[in-house]
Symmetry: C2
């Protein structure tokens, strides 16, 4: 009945170990078994309706990363980390993607798609008229940030370092990776690897507001 994998204390300790790594050790590569778990945790990330309006592009090609770096303020993490993940939204999500997802659901759960008509219709209704004004691309980008969180969290649990990066040109990244042709657009990056021993940021105190400043209760 108790499915806890860890204790509250261990969990908090591990979250405190995590930090946005500025200097990666360029000589250290993530082992395949570890990377597979990180890839799998991207795949398993939750999204609204389970729709997965995304794709994750992993750039390991050094020459390509050198080119990308020029469009990310020259940040060293782009080239030095073991893996560079470009998290992208599926552009202009709509009825076609819902049908695709419903087909996948029918396949995985071994039911006929007709039993899922109600569900599909409900999701289409939400996307056509969300309960608050938002474009589909903005909505998809929010989901991608859940996956970004899952990737960083899984890495921290496995003792792997990450650095999320918003300082880059999505336009140039899209161009170099030919994402629009595939229906995607880059929204955020995550460098994944191992901290350099001399990264001074590793030992700086984490700066957070006091809990009472960011958590409020209605009792």
């Amino acid at each position: 009945m108790n499915h806890a994998l860890t204790t509250p204390n261990e969990l908090i300790q591990q979250l405190n170990w995590r930090y946005a790594t500025k200097q990666f050790d360029p000589t250290r590569t993530i082992a395949d078994s570890t990377w597979l778990a990180l890839e799998q945790s991207l795949v398993l990330s939750p999204s609204s309706f389970g729709l997965q309006p995304w794709k994750f592009f992993v750039v390991r090609n050094p020459a390509l990363r050198q080119q990308l770096k020029e469009h990310a303020w020259g940040q060293a993490q782009i080239t030095d980390a073991s893996h560079l993940v470009v998290l992208a939204i599926k552009k202009d999500i709509g009825a076609a993607e819902v049908d695709q997802f419903v087909a996948r659901m029918a396949e995985v759960r071994q039911v006929s798609t007709s039993t899922l008509d109600g569900y599909g219709g409900m999701v289409k209704g939400f996307l056509a008229q969300p309960p608050y004004p938002i474009t589909m691309d903005s909505w998809a980008a929010r989901q991608v940030y859940i996956a970004l969180g899952f990737l960083m969290y899984s890495a921290a649990l496995l003792g792997v370092d990450t650095c999320p990066i918003e300082g880059f040109s999505p336009e140039k990244f899209n161009e170099l990776l030919q994402l629009p042709e595939q229906g995607y657009s880059a929204v955020v990056l995550c460098a994944v690897g191992y901290r350099a021993e001399d990264d001074n940021y590793a030992t700086l105190a984490k700066v957070r507001y006091a809990p009472e400043a960011v958590v409020g209760y209605y009792d």
Copy 2:
């Protein structure tokens, strides 16, 4: 040197245990020590520049939750889960919030704010002119979704169930919780508690696209 808390296999197993809970057991309450860790994992969530453009409102008051439920399509999770978290952005983030954060950084790291002028200026520059067109509220909402991911992930690690909820009226929630007066606006909800034994969704196969459909490599 090895700071891994768990193994790749255990991690994937735990992520597979997680699902969007539809039926919570209304008789089960999260123990204080567990809740504190969940609260702390919200506090420790990463955000761009560490700016924490958010606040998390935890609603335990049953009468208030009954009212909120009416503006969330009557979803039972709103009232039945142990805790209801309303994740909100700080509205219209700008220079004032950067100054506030820099002051906090100086306090935590025990340095003078003048040593952080460069950093503060850089963050203000980013917010004033982001590398892609985005409003500050949309930008803040993306950060909030990282925190949503961290909350769901921490809960899963501790054997606690969650259900993220986008189907609600932010306008009505803002009104009932008086968030605009405090400078905040609701973007997404998360019900946190324990699954009911008869929640059929718990045993349904998780529906995900094949890894090769959502993860691409540039080698």
